[in-house]
Symmetry: C2
Subunit: 231 residues, 2 copies
Amino acid sequence: MNKAEKNVHRDYKKGYPSPSLQRLPLYLRQLKQYQREGVEKASCTRIAQDLGLISVQVRKDLSMTGIAGRPKVGYNIDELINRIESFLGWDKQRKAVLVGAGALGGAILGYAGFVEHGLSICAAFDVDENKIGTSIRSCPVYSLDELEKFVEQNQIVIGIITVPQSVAQLVTDKMVKAGIRAIWNYSPVRLNVPSNVVCETVQLSSSFAVLSSKVKNMLAEERKNGEQLKE
Amino acid sequence: MNKAEKNVHRDYKKGYPSPSLQRLPLYLRQLKQYQREGVEKASCTRIAQDLGLISVQVRKDLSMTGIAGRPKVGYNIDELINRIESFLGWDKQRKAVLVGAGALGGAILGYAGFVEHGLSICAAFDVDENKIGTSIRSCPVYSLDELEKFVEQNQIVIGIITVPQSVAQLVTDKMVKAGIRAIWNYSPVRLNVPSNVVCETVQLSSSFAVLSSKVKNMLAEERKNGEQLKE
DNA sequence: TAAAAATCGATAAAAATTTATTGCTTTAAA
DNA sequence: TTTAAAGCAATAAATTTTTATCGATTTTTA
């Protein structure tokens, strides 16, 4: 590691293990499922079983939220849900805008789940004249030129980027200039943001790489076993 | 960890570190960028710098593919691209079907990048009469009833699931029955698949959880600093 | 042609994450 | 009322992943 590399800006104060954070929504969904089924308490053993994990991991993950469980019984589901939601800040609505009203943008606007996560997408922006003035899933689409004004007037915190990679940095700069504090990036490029803005990039290809590797392993394994049979 | 937990089916022969696998598409994109710029060689130092990583990590990741670099020079870009692609099996097309021709399904069908990753989505399936018979981004949409026949006749390997969570397991079972060997799941539920089928789930909420945590940390940090100023 | 600089490859160390262990507490059953 | 079982909490161990170090190799410069 050379001197320059040591100064790379990586995470905004890490705090909690990222793998644990990523499992929280999993727990949340399962807990809400229990709620619908009328169950009131859940143990780590039960949760782990239903999610294909192991109990200690669940226990450790949940302990991030400060919840206290009772031996032989488990956690109170309602309380646990509240704890997780407030831990993630999902108990209060955070206003967002989305730039890039294409297919992917539309899919995100259409995903009702995010509302439950405190994400309130107030408006979409695009440069396509055919889209400007319309609504996508009851979210108005405005001209990108109006982004800055809108963000300022409506105190928007989060910006979602669903534009082609060629313009992703441009859009980012506009968002930062307008006062956006957090960027959820669906384009595959690494965005440059100042240190007072946080950014999280969704890499759909990463997930496909993992699947591809599994497929390769599976096929290789089968070839090997096939050969063994021949011998 | 109890006895039951020890038998949980987790990964299909792990093999390579998942974080490393997930970074490969990142390298690939950057390398293709170099190609477009007419560059022929790249060192880990350079790649790391451009991606915000450190050189040793890049070197270790790339070593998975068996590439050999030259000191003081780096790797031949064309060769490295080939290595990564063949390592992931992206050098040959793998046929896929997609079930759930909604907004998210449409977005995936529309993402040209996957074609470069050897993913050839041959057909989409849905239960909506209005969609059946149409084409989404030049991909025909058929009735879900025809899934099994289509998969068998066309030797489809990969199934992509973009249906509501309530029917995700149902669709999975259909896919498995039809002979699908790998499932790329965009629904938030854990799918039950037999051990000869691999599965990878994309959790968009996970990414949002990480962003949310960063936002919380950022705001907390600012409050703290604000208080310090007052004192 | 020798010395210096860059960087690879391999190995070692450190850090992060997962899993195991232990003791204590609560509930339920004998 | 005692005993057994389940499960939380905390701590320790193991594993995985990241980062550092070192010697060797190639290129460039003096």
